[in-house]
Protein backbone atom coordinates (compact mmCIF):
# COMPACT_ATOMS: atom_id res chain seq x y z
CA UNK A 1 0.00 0.00 0.00
CA UNK A 2 1.28 3.45 -0.87
CA UNK A 3 1.01 6.19 1.69
CA UNK A 4 -1.32 8.95 0.58
CA UNK A 5 -0.28 12.31 -0.76
CA UNK A 6 0.04 15.17 1.62
CA UNK A 7 -2.45 18.02 1.65
CA UNK A 8 -5.56 18.75 -0.39
CA UNK A 9 -5.57 18.48 -4.17
CA UNK A 10 -7.50 21.74 -4.26
CA UNK A 11 -4.80 23.88 -2.63
CA UNK A 12 -4.47 26.97 -4.77
CA UNK A 13 -7.60 26.20 -6.77
CA UNK A 14 -9.21 29.59 -6.22
CA UNK A 15 -6.02 31.43 -7.06
CA UNK A 16 -6.07 29.66 -10.43
CA UNK A 17 -9.80 30.25 -10.94
CA UNK A 18 -9.65 33.98 -10.23
CA UNK A 19 -6.55 34.50 -12.36
CA UNK A 20 -7.96 32.58 -15.31
CA UNK A 21 -11.33 34.30 -15.07
CA UNK A 22 -9.66 37.69 -15.01
CA UNK A 23 -7.74 36.65 -18.11
CA UNK A 24 -10.88 35.47 -19.88
CA UNK A 25 -12.95 38.50 -19.08
CA UNK A 26 -10.30 40.96 -20.21
CA UNK A 27 -9.03 39.09 -23.26
CA UNK A 28 -9.72 40.49 -26.71
CA UNK A 29 -10.98 37.08 -27.79
CA UNK A 30 -13.78 37.16 -25.22
CA UNK A 31 -14.70 40.74 -25.99
CA UNK A 32 -15.20 39.91 -29.67
CA UNK A 33 -17.39 36.96 -28.75
CA UNK A 34 -19.41 39.01 -26.29
CA UNK A 35 -20.15 41.64 -28.89
CA UNK A 36 -21.10 38.94 -31.36
CA UNK A 37 -23.45 37.33 -28.90
CA UNK A 38 -25.03 40.58 -27.75
CA UNK A 39 -25.68 41.49 -31.37
CA UNK A 40 -27.32 38.17 -32.16
CA UNK A 41 -29.41 38.39 -29.00
CA UNK A 42 -30.61 41.85 -29.90
CA UNK A 43 -31.25 40.94 -33.53
CA UNK A 44 -33.12 37.71 -32.95
CA UNK A 45 -35.22 39.08 -30.11
CA UNK A 46 -36.17 42.15 -32.09
CA UNK A 47 -37.18 39.94 -35.03
CA UNK A 48 -39.08 37.60 -32.72
CA UNK A 49 -41.01 40.49 -31.18
CA UNK A 50 -42.08 41.69 -34.63
CA UNK A 51 -43.29 38.20 -35.46
CA UNK A 52 -45.05 37.72 -32.13
CA UNK A 53 -46.93 40.98 -32.51
CA UNK A 54 -48.02 40.13 -36.03
CA UNK A 55 -48.97 36.50 -35.66
CA UNK A 56 -49.55 35.33 -32.16
CA UNK A 57 -52.19 36.91 -30.03
CA UNK A 58 -52.98 35.24 -26.78
CA UNK A 59 -50.42 32.64 -25.97
CA UNK A 60 -50.01 31.73 -22.32
CA UNK A 61 -46.27 31.38 -22.90
CA UNK A 62 -45.62 34.63 -24.69
CA UNK A 63 -42.22 35.17 -23.16
CA UNK A 64 -40.89 31.78 -24.16
CA UNK A 65 -41.77 32.65 -27.74
CA UNK A 66 -39.03 35.26 -27.54
CA UNK A 67 -36.51 32.43 -27.56
CA UNK A 68 -38.09 30.17 -30.12
CA UNK A 69 -39.89 32.31 -32.72
CA UNK A 70 -37.91 33.31 -35.76
CA UNK A 71 -38.51 35.69 -38.59
CA UNK A 72 -36.80 34.93 -41.87
CA UNK A 73 -33.98 35.24 -42.67
CA UNK A 74 -32.81 35.27 -39.04
CA UNK A 75 -32.89 31.97 -37.15
CA UNK A 76 -34.52 31.84 -33.72
CA UNK A 77 -32.52 32.74 -30.62
CA UNK A 78 -32.25 29.12 -29.50
CA UNK A 79 -30.94 28.08 -32.90
CA UNK A 80 -28.23 30.70 -32.80
CA UNK A 81 -27.28 29.73 -29.29
CA UNK A 82 -26.84 26.16 -30.54
CA UNK A 83 -23.98 27.54 -32.65
CA UNK A 84 -22.62 30.22 -30.39
CA UNK A 85 -22.42 28.37 -27.09
CA UNK A 86 -20.00 25.74 -28.47
CA UNK A 87 -18.01 28.49 -30.15
CA UNK A 88 -17.60 30.44 -26.91
CA UNK A 89 -16.83 27.30 -24.92
CA UNK A 90 -14.16 26.16 -27.37
CA UNK A 91 -12.66 29.65 -27.47
CA UNK A 92 -12.36 29.59 -23.69
CA UNK A 93 -10.42 26.35 -23.40
CA UNK A 94 -8.58 25.35 -26.57
CA UNK A 95 -5.28 26.85 -25.39
CA UNK A 96 -5.72 26.24 -21.67
CA UNK A 97 -2.98 23.68 -21.08
CA UNK A 98 -0.85 23.81 -24.23
CA UNK A 99 -0.69 27.58 -23.84
CA UNK A 100 1.06 27.12 -20.51
CA UNK A 101 3.56 24.81 -22.15
CA UNK A 102 4.17 27.18 -25.05
CA UNK A 103 4.68 30.17 -22.77
CA UNK A 104 7.00 28.01 -20.65
CA UNK A 105 5.00 28.92 -17.58
CA UNK A 106 3.88 25.42 -16.70
CA UNK A 107 6.95 24.36 -14.74
CA UNK A 108 7.01 27.70 -12.95
CA UNK A 109 3.38 27.35 -11.86
CA UNK A 110 3.68 23.69 -10.91
CA UNK A 111 6.80 24.45 -8.87
CA UNK A 112 4.49 26.31 -6.50
CA UNK A 113 2.91 24.35 -3.65
CA UNK A 114 -0.13 23.18 -5.63
CA UNK A 115 -1.06 19.93 -7.33
CA UNK A 116 -1.74 19.58 -11.03
CA UNK A 117 -5.36 18.87 -10.11
CA UNK A 118 -5.82 22.44 -8.99
CA UNK A 119 -4.43 23.85 -12.23
CA UNK A 120 -6.60 21.74 -14.53
CA UNK A 121 -9.78 21.95 -12.50
CA UNK A 122 -9.21 25.65 -11.91
CA UNK A 123 -8.97 26.22 -15.63
CA UNK A 124 -12.12 24.25 -16.25
CA UNK A 125 -14.04 26.06 -13.52
CA UNK A 126 -12.83 29.45 -14.73
CA UNK A 127 -14.06 28.66 -18.24
CA UNK A 128 -17.33 27.33 -16.88
CA UNK A 129 -17.98 30.39 -14.73
CA UNK A 130 -17.06 32.74 -17.54
CA UNK A 131 -19.44 30.90 -19.84
CA UNK A 132 -22.13 31.11 -17.18
CA UNK A 133 -21.60 34.85 -16.77
CA UNK A 134 -21.86 35.41 -20.51
CA UNK A 135 -25.01 33.31 -20.81
CA UNK A 136 -26.71 34.85 -17.77
CA UNK A 137 -26.03 38.29 -19.21
CA UNK A 138 -27.58 37.37 -22.52
CA UNK A 139 -30.53 35.73 -20.81
CA UNK A 140 -31.18 38.87 -18.77
CA UNK A 141 -30.80 40.93 -21.91
CA UNK A 142 -33.41 38.89 -23.72
CA UNK A 143 -35.83 38.95 -20.80
CA UNK A 144 -35.35 42.69 -20.37
CA UNK A 145 -35.90 43.37 -24.05
CA UNK A 146 -38.98 41.19 -23.86
CA UNK A 147 -40.36 43.30 -21.03
CA UNK A 148 -39.82 46.48 -23.00
CA UNK A 149 -41.14 45.27 -26.33
CA UNK A 150 -43.98 43.05 -25.21
CA UNK A 151 -45.17 45.21 -22.36
CA UNK A 152 -46.34 42.28 -20.23
CA UNK A 153 -44.47 40.71 -17.34
CA UNK A 154 -43.56 37.01 -17.62
CA UNK A 155 -45.42 34.51 -15.50
CA UNK A 156 -43.65 32.50 -12.85
CA UNK A 157 -43.60 29.34 -14.87
CA UNK A 158 -42.13 31.12 -17.87
CA UNK A 159 -39.31 32.49 -15.74
CA UNK A 160 -38.70 29.04 -14.30
CA UNK A 161 -38.65 27.37 -17.72
CA UNK A 162 -36.37 30.12 -18.97
CA UNK A 163 -34.00 29.59 -16.04
CA UNK A 164 -33.83 25.86 -16.58
CA UNK A 165 -33.14 26.51 -20.25
CA UNK A 166 -30.32 28.81 -19.15
CA UNK A 167 -28.88 26.06 -16.96
CA UNK A 168 -29.10 23.60 -19.83
CA UNK A 169 -27.23 26.07 -22.07
CA UNK A 170 -24.40 26.30 -19.53
CA UNK A 171 -24.07 22.52 -19.33
CA UNK A 172 -24.28 22.22 -23.10
CA UNK A 173 -21.34 24.63 -23.19
CA UNK A 174 -19.66 22.53 -20.48
CA UNK A 175 -19.30 19.61 -22.88
CA UNK A 176 -17.52 21.71 -25.48
CA UNK A 177 -15.42 23.30 -22.79
CA UNK A 178 -14.32 19.89 -21.52
CA UNK A 179 -13.67 18.74 -25.09
CA UNK A 180 -11.53 21.76 -25.91
CA UNK A 181 -9.68 21.31 -22.61
CA UNK A 182 -9.02 17.67 -23.50
CA UNK A 183 -7.61 18.66 -26.88
CA UNK A 184 -5.51 21.35 -25.23
CA UNK A 185 -3.90 18.60 -23.16
CA UNK A 186 -3.47 16.25 -26.12
CA UNK A 187 -2.17 18.68 -28.75
CA UNK A 188 0.87 20.89 -28.22
CA UNK A 189 -0.32 23.48 -30.75
CA UNK A 190 -3.32 25.58 -29.70
CA UNK A 191 -4.35 25.93 -33.34
CA UNK A 192 -4.53 22.16 -33.71
CA UNK A 193 -6.60 21.89 -30.54
CA UNK A 194 -9.00 24.59 -31.76
CA UNK A 195 -9.36 22.94 -35.16
CA UNK A 196 -9.90 19.51 -33.65
CA UNK A 197 -12.62 20.86 -31.35
CA UNK A 198 -14.31 22.64 -34.25
CA UNK A 199 -14.08 19.47 -36.34
CA UNK A 200 -15.89 17.46 -33.66
CA UNK A 201 -18.52 20.15 -33.34
CA UNK A 202 -19.04 20.32 -37.11
CA UNK A 203 -19.21 16.54 -37.28
CA UNK A 204 -22.05 16.43 -34.76
CA UNK A 205 -23.83 19.44 -36.21
CA UNK A 206 -23.69 18.58 -39.87
CA UNK A 207 -22.96 14.91 -40.32
CA UNK A 208 -24.07 12.93 -37.33
CA UNK A 209 -27.78 13.20 -38.19
CA UNK A 210 -27.12 11.78 -41.63
CA UNK A 211 -24.94 9.01 -40.29
CA UNK A 212 -27.59 8.07 -37.73
CA UNK A 213 -30.15 7.84 -40.52
CA UNK A 214 -27.86 5.60 -42.53
CA UNK A 215 -26.92 3.39 -39.61
CA UNK A 216 -30.44 2.85 -38.26
CA UNK A 217 -31.71 0.73 -41.22
CA UNK A 218 -28.57 -1.39 -40.96
CA UNK A 219 -29.09 -2.03 -37.25
CA UNK A 220 -32.89 -2.42 -37.39
CA UNK A 221 -33.82 -3.46 -40.91
CA UNK A 222 -37.45 -3.59 -42.03
CA UNK A 223 -37.82 -7.16 -43.37
CA UNK A 224 -41.54 -7.82 -43.44
CA UNK A 225 -43.00 -4.34 -43.41
CA UNK A 226 -44.44 -4.77 -39.93
CA UNK A 227 -45.27 -1.56 -38.03
CA UNK A 228 -43.11 -2.81 -35.13
CA UNK A 229 -40.13 -2.92 -37.44
CA UNK A 230 -40.69 0.65 -38.60
CA UNK A 231 -41.05 1.80 -35.03
CA UNK A 232 -37.85 -0.03 -33.99
CA UNK A 233 -35.99 1.63 -36.84
CA UNK A 234 -37.20 5.11 -35.94
CA UNK A 235 -36.25 4.56 -32.33
CA UNK A 236 -32.82 3.29 -33.28
CA UNK A 237 -32.24 6.37 -35.42
CA UNK A 238 -33.35 8.58 -32.55
CA UNK A 239 -31.15 6.83 -30.01
CA UNK A 240 -28.15 7.10 -32.31
CA UNK A 241 -28.75 10.75 -33.07
CA UNK A 242 -28.89 11.50 -29.36
CA UNK A 243 -25.19 10.71 -29.07
CA UNK A 244 -24.73 14.20 -30.48
CA UNK A 245 -24.83 16.93 -27.84
CA UNK A 246 -26.41 19.24 -30.39
CA UNK A 247 -29.44 16.97 -30.71
CA UNK A 248 -29.70 16.73 -26.92
CA UNK A 249 -29.57 20.49 -26.67
CA UNK A 250 -32.19 20.86 -29.40
CA UNK A 251 -34.58 18.47 -27.67
CA UNK A 252 -34.07 20.10 -24.28
CA UNK A 253 -34.88 23.46 -25.82
CA UNK A 254 -37.95 22.08 -27.51
CA UNK A 255 -39.39 20.47 -24.40
CA UNK A 256 -38.62 23.41 -22.14
CA UNK A 257 -39.58 26.34 -24.28
CA UNK A 258 -42.56 24.84 -26.05
CA UNK A 259 -44.70 23.39 -23.29
CA UNK A 260 -47.17 21.91 -25.78
CA UNK A 261 -44.55 19.36 -26.86
CA UNK A 262 -45.56 16.08 -25.23
CA UNK A 263 -42.90 13.68 -26.46
CA UNK A 264 -39.51 13.80 -28.06
CA UNK A 265 -39.87 10.48 -29.90
CA UNK A 266 -42.57 8.90 -32.01
CA UNK A 267 -46.05 8.95 -30.43
CA UNK A 268 -48.55 6.24 -31.14
CA UNK A 269 -52.23 6.99 -31.38
CA UNK A 270 -53.17 4.95 -28.35
CA UNK A 271 -50.68 6.96 -26.29
CA UNK A 272 -52.59 10.10 -27.15
CA UNK A 273 -55.91 8.75 -25.89
CA UNK A 274 -57.53 11.21 -23.57
CA UNK A 275 -55.00 13.93 -24.23
CA UNK A 276 -56.18 17.41 -25.06
CA UNK A 277 -54.14 18.25 -28.11
CA UNK A 278 -52.28 21.53 -28.05
CA UNK A 279 -52.65 22.03 -24.32
CA UNK A 280 -49.35 22.68 -22.51
CA UNK A 281 -47.67 20.16 -20.26
CA UNK A 282 -46.97 21.16 -16.67
CA UNK A 283 -43.34 22.00 -15.97
CA UNK A 284 -42.72 18.84 -13.98
CA UNK A 285 -43.79 16.73 -16.97
CA UNK A 286 -41.62 18.69 -19.39
CA UNK A 287 -38.72 18.18 -16.99
CA UNK A 288 -39.40 14.44 -16.97
CA UNK A 289 -38.99 14.49 -20.74
CA UNK A 290 -35.56 16.06 -20.68
CA UNK A 291 -34.18 14.60 -17.46
CA UNK A 292 -32.18 11.90 -19.28
CA UNK A 293 -30.87 14.53 -21.68
CA UNK A 294 -29.64 16.76 -18.87
CA UNK A 295 -27.94 13.91 -17.02
CA UNK A 296 -26.41 12.80 -20.32
CA UNK A 297 -24.94 16.26 -20.93
CA UNK A 298 -23.50 16.50 -17.44
CA UNK A 299 -22.20 12.93 -17.44
CA UNK A 300 -20.33 13.38 -20.72
CA UNK A 301 -18.85 16.64 -19.45
CA UNK A 302 -17.53 14.79 -16.41
CA UNK A 303 -16.22 11.94 -18.55
CA UNK A 304 -14.36 14.26 -20.89
CA UNK A 305 -12.90 16.16 -17.95
CA UNK A 306 -11.82 12.92 -16.27
CA UNK A 307 -10.05 11.86 -19.46
CA UNK A 308 -8.14 15.12 -19.76
CA UNK A 309 -7.32 14.84 -16.04
CA UNK A 310 -5.76 11.41 -16.49
CA UNK A 311 -3.80 12.49 -19.56
CA UNK A 312 -2.59 15.66 -17.87
CA UNK A 313 -1.41 13.78 -14.77
CA UNK A 314 0.69 11.51 -16.95
CA UNK A 315 2.25 14.27 -18.98
CA UNK A 316 5.93 15.07 -18.52
CA UNK A 317 6.12 18.72 -17.69
CA UNK A 318 9.58 19.46 -19.01
CA UNK A 319 9.21 21.78 -21.95
Amino acid sequence: MRPSREGSPWTGLWAVVTKEMADHLTSARMQILEVLIALTALGTVYAAVQEIRAVIGHDPFLFLKLFTVNKDPLPAFVGLMGFLVPLVAIALAFDAVNGEFNRRTISRVLAQPIYRDALLFGKFLAGFFTLAIVLVTIWLLVMGLGLIFLGVPPRGEEVLRGLIYLGACVFYGGIWLALALLFSVVFRQPATAALASMAVWLFFTAFWGMIADVLAPVLRPVRFGLPEEFLAQIQAALALSRISPNILYGEITLALLRPEVRALGPLLTFQLQGAILGSPLPLSQSLMLIWPHLTGLIASTILLFALSYVLFQRQEIRA
Binding site: P3, R5, E6, G7, T11, G12, A15, V16, T18, K19, D23, R103, R104, T105, S107, R108, V109, L110, A111, Q112, P113, I114, Y115, E316, I317, R318, A319
Partner: protein
Protein backbone atom coordinates in the same frame (compact mmCIF):
# COMPACT_ATOMS: atom_id res chain seq x y z
CA UNK B 1 29.08 17.93 9.52
CA UNK B 2 26.54 20.49 8.39
CA UNK B 3 22.93 19.75 7.86
CA UNK B 4 22.04 17.98 4.60
CA UNK B 5 19.65 19.91 2.39
CA UNK B 6 19.49 17.48 -0.49
CA UNK B 7 20.18 13.80 -0.27
CA UNK B 8 19.50 11.26 -2.98
CA UNK B 9 20.18 7.55 -2.77
CA UNK B 10 20.55 5.45 -5.90
CA UNK B 11 18.13 7.81 -7.62
CA UNK B 12 17.19 6.49 -11.04
CA UNK B 13 14.83 7.68 -13.76
CA UNK B 14 14.14 5.75 -16.93
CA UNK B 15 12.10 6.83 -19.94
CA UNK B 16 11.50 3.57 -21.75
CA UNK B 17 14.93 2.29 -22.73
CA UNK B 18 16.67 5.53 -21.97
CA UNK B 19 18.14 5.94 -18.52
CA UNK B 20 18.05 9.67 -17.91
CA UNK B 21 19.47 9.50 -14.40
CA UNK B 22 21.42 6.49 -13.26
CA UNK B 23 21.87 5.62 -9.57
CA UNK B 24 22.61 9.13 -8.45
CA UNK B 25 23.95 9.71 -4.95
CA UNK B 26 23.98 13.42 -4.34
CA UNK B 27 24.51 15.29 -1.10
CA UNK B 28 24.21 19.03 -0.79
CA UNK B 29 24.92 20.72 2.53
CA UNK B 30 23.23 23.75 3.99
CA UNK B 31 24.65 27.06 2.83
CA UNK B 32 26.69 25.83 -0.09
CA UNK B 33 26.43 26.52 -3.81
CA UNK B 34 26.45 23.27 -5.69
CA UNK B 35 26.77 23.13 -9.47
CA UNK B 36 25.34 20.34 -11.57
CA UNK B 37 27.45 20.57 -14.66
CA UNK B 38 27.46 18.69 -17.88
CA UNK B 39 26.36 18.74 -21.50
CA UNK B 40 22.71 19.00 -22.50
CA UNK B 41 20.85 15.76 -22.08
CA UNK B 42 23.08 14.44 -19.33
CA UNK B 43 20.28 14.25 -16.78
CA UNK B 44 20.59 17.55 -14.94
CA UNK B 45 17.04 18.78 -15.56
CA UNK B 46 15.54 15.37 -14.84
CA UNK B 47 17.39 15.31 -11.53
CA UNK B 48 16.03 18.75 -10.67
CA UNK B 49 12.46 17.75 -11.58
CA UNK B 50 12.73 14.73 -9.30
CA UNK B 51 14.01 16.89 -6.46
CA UNK B 52 10.86 18.98 -6.77
CA UNK B 53 8.49 16.08 -7.15
CA UNK B 54 7.54 17.20 -10.66
CA UNK B 55 8.62 13.84 -12.03
CA UNK B 56 8.49 10.56 -10.18
CA UNK B 57 11.73 8.61 -9.81
CA UNK B 58 11.76 5.10 -11.26
CA UNK B 59 13.69 3.91 -8.21
CA UNK B 60 15.80 5.23 -5.38
CA UNK B 61 14.98 7.85 -2.81
CA UNK B 62 15.15 11.61 -2.47
CA UNK B 63 15.07 13.83 0.58
CA UNK B 64 14.88 17.59 0.20
CA UNK B 65 14.96 19.61 3.44
CA UNK B 66 13.98 16.40 5.15
CA UNK B 67 10.85 15.89 3.03
CA UNK B 68 10.12 13.27 0.41
CA UNK B 69 9.15 15.12 -2.80
CA UNK B 70 7.07 12.19 -4.01
CA UNK B 71 4.85 12.03 -0.95
CA UNK B 72 5.13 15.55 0.44
CA UNK B 73 5.45 17.71 -2.68
CA UNK B 74 3.62 20.66 -1.14
CA UNK B 75 6.01 20.91 1.80
CA UNK B 76 8.97 20.73 -0.56
CA UNK B 77 7.58 23.18 -3.09
CA UNK B 78 6.63 25.77 -0.50
CA UNK B 79 10.22 25.85 0.80
CA UNK B 80 12.17 25.49 -2.41
CA UNK B 81 12.41 28.14 -5.11
CA UNK B 82 12.78 26.82 -8.63
CA UNK B 83 13.78 28.81 -11.69
CA UNK B 84 13.22 26.68 -14.79
CA UNK B 85 15.38 26.86 -17.88
CA UNK B 86 14.29 29.81 -20.07
CA UNK B 87 11.51 30.69 -17.66
CA UNK B 88 8.29 32.03 -19.18
CA UNK B 89 5.78 34.56 -17.86
CA UNK B 90 2.29 35.67 -18.69
CA UNK B 91 3.26 38.34 -21.18
CA UNK B 92 0.01 40.27 -21.00
CA UNK B 93 0.36 40.75 -17.24
CA UNK B 94 2.75 43.12 -15.54
CA UNK B 95 5.74 41.92 -13.56
CA UNK B 96 3.89 42.66 -10.34
CA UNK B 97 0.75 40.83 -11.47
CA UNK B 98 2.80 37.79 -12.36
CA UNK B 99 4.29 37.85 -8.89
CA UNK B 100 0.92 38.33 -7.21
CA UNK B 101 -0.34 35.18 -8.91
CA UNK B 102 2.62 33.21 -7.58
CA UNK B 103 2.13 34.70 -4.10
CA UNK B 104 -1.52 33.62 -4.18
CA UNK B 105 -0.58 30.12 -5.28
CA UNK B 106 1.69 30.04 -2.25
CA UNK B 107 -1.21 31.04 -0.05
CA UNK B 108 0.52 34.14 1.30
CA UNK B 109 -1.73 36.63 3.05
CA UNK B 110 -2.26 39.73 0.93
CA UNK B 111 -0.42 42.31 3.00
CA UNK B 112 2.55 40.03 3.63
CA UNK B 113 2.65 39.17 -0.08
CA UNK B 114 2.74 42.82 -1.17
CA UNK B 115 5.59 43.59 1.22
CA UNK B 116 7.60 40.62 0.06
CA UNK B 117 6.99 41.49 -3.59
CA UNK B 118 8.29 45.03 -3.07
CA UNK B 119 11.34 43.75 -1.26
CA UNK B 120 12.09 41.10 -3.88
CA UNK B 121 11.67 43.54 -6.79
CA UNK B 122 14.10 45.91 -5.14
CA UNK B 123 16.56 43.14 -4.48
CA UNK B 124 16.81 42.22 -8.17
CA UNK B 125 16.61 45.82 -9.33
CA UNK B 126 13.29 45.68 -11.15
CA UNK B 127 11.24 48.04 -8.99
CA UNK B 128 11.06 50.66 -11.72
CA UNK B 129 9.55 48.36 -14.32
CA UNK B 130 7.28 46.49 -11.91
CA UNK B 131 4.12 47.76 -13.58
CA UNK B 132 5.25 47.19 -17.16
CA UNK B 133 4.01 44.25 -19.16
CA UNK B 134 6.43 41.37 -19.14
CA UNK B 135 6.19 41.21 -22.95
CA UNK B 136 8.55 44.20 -23.07
CA UNK B 137 11.19 42.55 -20.86
CA UNK B 138 14.59 41.41 -22.09
CA UNK B 139 15.86 37.92 -21.38
CA UNK B 140 17.99 39.23 -18.53
CA UNK B 141 15.06 41.05 -16.94
CA UNK B 142 12.91 37.93 -17.18
CA UNK B 143 15.59 35.94 -15.50
CA UNK B 144 15.79 38.47 -12.69
CA UNK B 145 12.01 38.55 -12.39
CA UNK B 146 12.11 34.78 -12.09
CA UNK B 147 14.56 35.14 -9.24
CA UNK B 148 12.39 37.81 -7.56
CA UNK B 149 9.44 35.49 -7.78
CA UNK B 150 11.40 32.81 -5.99
CA UNK B 151 12.41 35.22 -3.26
CA UNK B 152 8.83 35.98 -2.23
CA UNK B 153 8.64 32.44 -0.90
CA UNK B 154 11.64 33.16 1.33
CA UNK B 155 13.08 29.79 0.37
CA UNK B 156 15.71 27.77 2.16
CA UNK B 157 16.89 26.23 -1.08
CA UNK B 158 16.97 27.69 -4.55
CA UNK B 159 17.27 25.52 -7.62
CA UNK B 160 18.31 27.22 -10.84
CA UNK B 161 18.23 25.38 -14.15
CA UNK B 162 20.67 26.86 -16.66
CA UNK B 163 20.37 30.33 -15.13
CA UNK B 164 22.75 31.98 -17.59
CA UNK B 165 21.20 30.45 -20.69
CA UNK B 166 20.45 33.09 -23.31
CA UNK B 167 22.08 35.93 -21.37
CA UNK B 168 24.85 38.07 -22.77
CA UNK B 169 28.16 37.90 -20.84
CA UNK B 170 27.39 41.10 -18.92
CA UNK B 171 23.89 39.90 -18.03
CA UNK B 172 25.24 36.55 -16.97
CA UNK B 173 27.85 38.20 -14.77
CA UNK B 174 25.23 40.39 -13.08
CA UNK B 175 22.94 37.45 -12.54
CA UNK B 176 25.69 35.37 -10.98
CA UNK B 177 26.51 38.33 -8.75
CA UNK B 178 22.89 38.26 -7.52
CA UNK B 179 23.20 34.57 -6.78
CA UNK B 180 26.38 35.18 -4.84
CA UNK B 181 24.52 37.73 -2.70
CA UNK B 182 21.81 35.18 -1.97
CA UNK B 183 24.44 32.75 -0.82
CA UNK B 184 25.56 35.44 1.61
CA UNK B 185 22.08 35.33 3.13
CA UNK B 186 22.56 31.69 3.98
CA UNK B 187 20.40 30.23 1.23
CA UNK B 188 21.54 26.93 -0.22
CA UNK B 189 21.78 27.02 -3.99
CA UNK B 190 21.78 24.24 -6.53
CA UNK B 191 22.35 25.30 -10.09
CA UNK B 192 22.82 23.48 -13.34
CA UNK B 193 24.77 24.65 -16.34
CA UNK B 194 26.55 23.47 -19.41
CA UNK B 195 28.71 26.57 -19.60
CA UNK B 196 31.30 25.48 -17.11
CA UNK B 197 33.54 28.53 -17.06
CA UNK B 198 30.65 30.85 -16.14
CA UNK B 199 29.56 29.07 -13.01
CA UNK B 200 32.92 27.85 -11.87
CA UNK B 201 33.50 31.01 -9.87
CA UNK B 202 30.42 30.83 -7.70
CA UNK B 203 30.18 27.10 -7.01
CA UNK B 204 31.60 25.72 -3.78
CA UNK B 205 31.34 22.22 -5.11
CA UNK B 206 30.39 20.81 -8.46
CA UNK B 207 29.20 17.50 -9.82
CA UNK B 208 29.98 16.65 -13.41
CA UNK B 209 27.24 14.77 -15.21
CA UNK B 210 27.64 12.53 -18.16
CA UNK B 211 24.90 10.32 -19.57
CA UNK B 212 22.86 10.29 -16.39
CA UNK B 213 25.77 9.60 -14.07
CA UNK B 214 27.60 11.97 -11.82
CA UNK B 215 31.11 11.06 -12.90
CA UNK B 216 33.03 13.54 -10.76
CA UNK B 217 32.20 15.42 -7.62
CA UNK B 218 34.05 17.84 -5.40
CA UNK B 219 35.56 21.32 -5.34
CA UNK B 220 37.09 22.53 -8.55
CA UNK B 221 40.53 22.17 -7.00
CA UNK B 222 39.90 18.59 -5.95
CA UNK B 223 38.71 17.71 -9.40
CA UNK B 224 41.72 19.35 -10.96
CA UNK B 225 44.04 17.30 -8.78
CA UNK B 226 42.20 14.13 -9.61
CA UNK B 227 41.88 14.65 -13.34
CA UNK B 228 44.73 16.90 -14.34
CA UNK B 229 47.04 15.55 -11.67
CA UNK B 230 48.05 19.07 -10.75
CA UNK B 231 45.89 21.83 -9.50
CA UNK B 232 48.27 24.76 -10.11
CA UNK B 233 49.90 26.06 -13.19
CA UNK B 234 52.49 28.75 -12.65
CA UNK B 235 53.73 30.86 -15.52
CA UNK B 236 57.02 32.61 -15.19
CA UNK B 237 58.56 35.20 -17.41
CA UNK B 238 62.30 35.39 -16.94
CA UNK B 239 65.36 36.28 -18.95
CA UNK B 240 68.46 34.15 -18.68
CA UNK B 241 69.79 30.82 -19.68
CA UNK B 242 66.82 28.53 -20.28
CA UNK B 243 68.76 25.38 -19.40
CA UNK B 244 69.82 26.77 -16.02
CA UNK B 245 66.34 28.06 -15.20
CA UNK B 246 64.60 24.84 -16.18
CA UNK B 247 67.09 22.83 -14.18
CA UNK B 248 66.57 25.04 -11.13
CA UNK B 249 62.81 24.88 -11.42
CA UNK B 250 62.82 21.11 -11.75
CA UNK B 251 64.73 20.86 -8.52
CA UNK B 252 61.93 22.40 -6.46
CA UNK B 253 60.18 19.68 -4.44
CA UNK B 254 56.57 19.21 -5.51
CA UNK B 255 56.98 20.36 -9.10
CA UNK B 256 55.55 17.85 -11.50
CA UNK B 257 56.40 19.27 -14.85
CA UNK B 258 58.31 22.19 -16.29
CA UNK B 259 57.87 23.33 -19.85
CA UNK B 260 59.45 25.99 -21.97
CA UNK B 261 56.51 27.56 -23.67
CA UNK B 262 57.90 30.49 -25.56
CA UNK B 263 61.08 32.53 -25.38
CA UNK B 264 61.47 33.53 -21.73
CA UNK B 265 58.17 31.97 -20.73
CA UNK B 266 58.16 28.90 -18.50
CA UNK B 267 55.29 26.95 -17.10
CA UNK B 268 55.34 24.61 -14.20
CA UNK B 269 52.65 22.35 -12.84
CA UNK B 270 52.36 21.55 -9.19
CA UNK B 271 49.94 20.38 -6.57
CA UNK B 272 50.56 23.37 -4.40
CA UNK B 273 51.08 27.06 -4.87
CA UNK B 274 54.86 27.13 -5.39
CA UNK B 275 55.21 30.72 -6.58
CA UNK B 276 57.64 31.77 -3.86
CA UNK B 277 59.89 28.75 -4.40
CA UNK B 278 59.82 29.25 -8.16
CA UNK B 279 60.83 32.87 -7.85
CA UNK B 280 63.75 31.95 -5.61
CA UNK B 281 64.84 29.24 -8.03
CA UNK B 282 64.85 31.66 -10.95
CA UNK B 283 66.88 34.19 -9.01
CA UNK B 284 69.35 31.50 -7.92
CA UNK B 285 69.75 30.44 -11.56
CA UNK B 286 70.73 34.04 -12.29
CA UNK B 287 67.63 34.72 -14.33
CA UNK B 288 65.94 38.09 -14.48
CA UNK B 289 62.40 37.68 -13.30
CA UNK B 290 59.83 39.74 -15.24
CA UNK B 291 56.58 38.28 -14.02
CA UNK B 292 54.95 35.42 -12.24
CA UNK B 293 51.37 34.36 -12.51
CA UNK B 294 49.34 31.49 -11.15
CA UNK B 295 46.50 30.05 -13.17
CA UNK B 296 43.56 28.36 -11.49
CA UNK B 297 42.52 25.22 -13.28
CA UNK B 298 39.39 25.69 -15.38
CA UNK B 299 36.48 23.33 -15.30
CA UNK B 300 36.44 23.26 -19.07
CA UNK B 301 39.90 21.86 -19.06
CA UNK B 302 39.08 19.31 -16.39
CA UNK B 303 36.06 18.19 -18.31
CA UNK B 304 37.84 17.90 -21.64
CA UNK B 305 40.78 16.12 -20.10
CA UNK B 306 38.56 13.75 -18.21
CA UNK B 307 36.96 12.49 -21.38
CA UNK B 308 40.24 12.46 -23.28
CA UNK B 309 41.61 10.14 -20.63
CA UNK B 310 38.71 7.83 -21.28
CA UNK B 311 37.07 8.58 -17.98
CA UNK B 312 33.77 7.48 -19.48
CA UNK B 313 34.86 3.89 -19.38
CA UNK B 314 35.76 4.07 -15.73
Amino acid sequence: MQELVIETKELTKRYGDLTAVDKLNLKVHAGEVFGLLGPNGSGKTTTILMLLGLTEPTSGSVKVLGFDPVRQPLSVKSRVGYLPELVGFYDDLTARENMIYIAKLNGLPRREAYQRIERALKQVGLEEVADKHVATFSRGMRQRLGLAEILIKEPKLIILDEPTQGLDPEGAREFLELIRKLKGQGITILLSSHILSQVQKICDRVGLFYRGRMVLEGTVRELAREVLGSAYRIRLEAQGSPEAIIKALKRIPGVQEVSYQAPDIYELRAEEDLRAEAVRAVVEAEGKLRGVMVEEPSLDEIYTRYFEKGGVEK
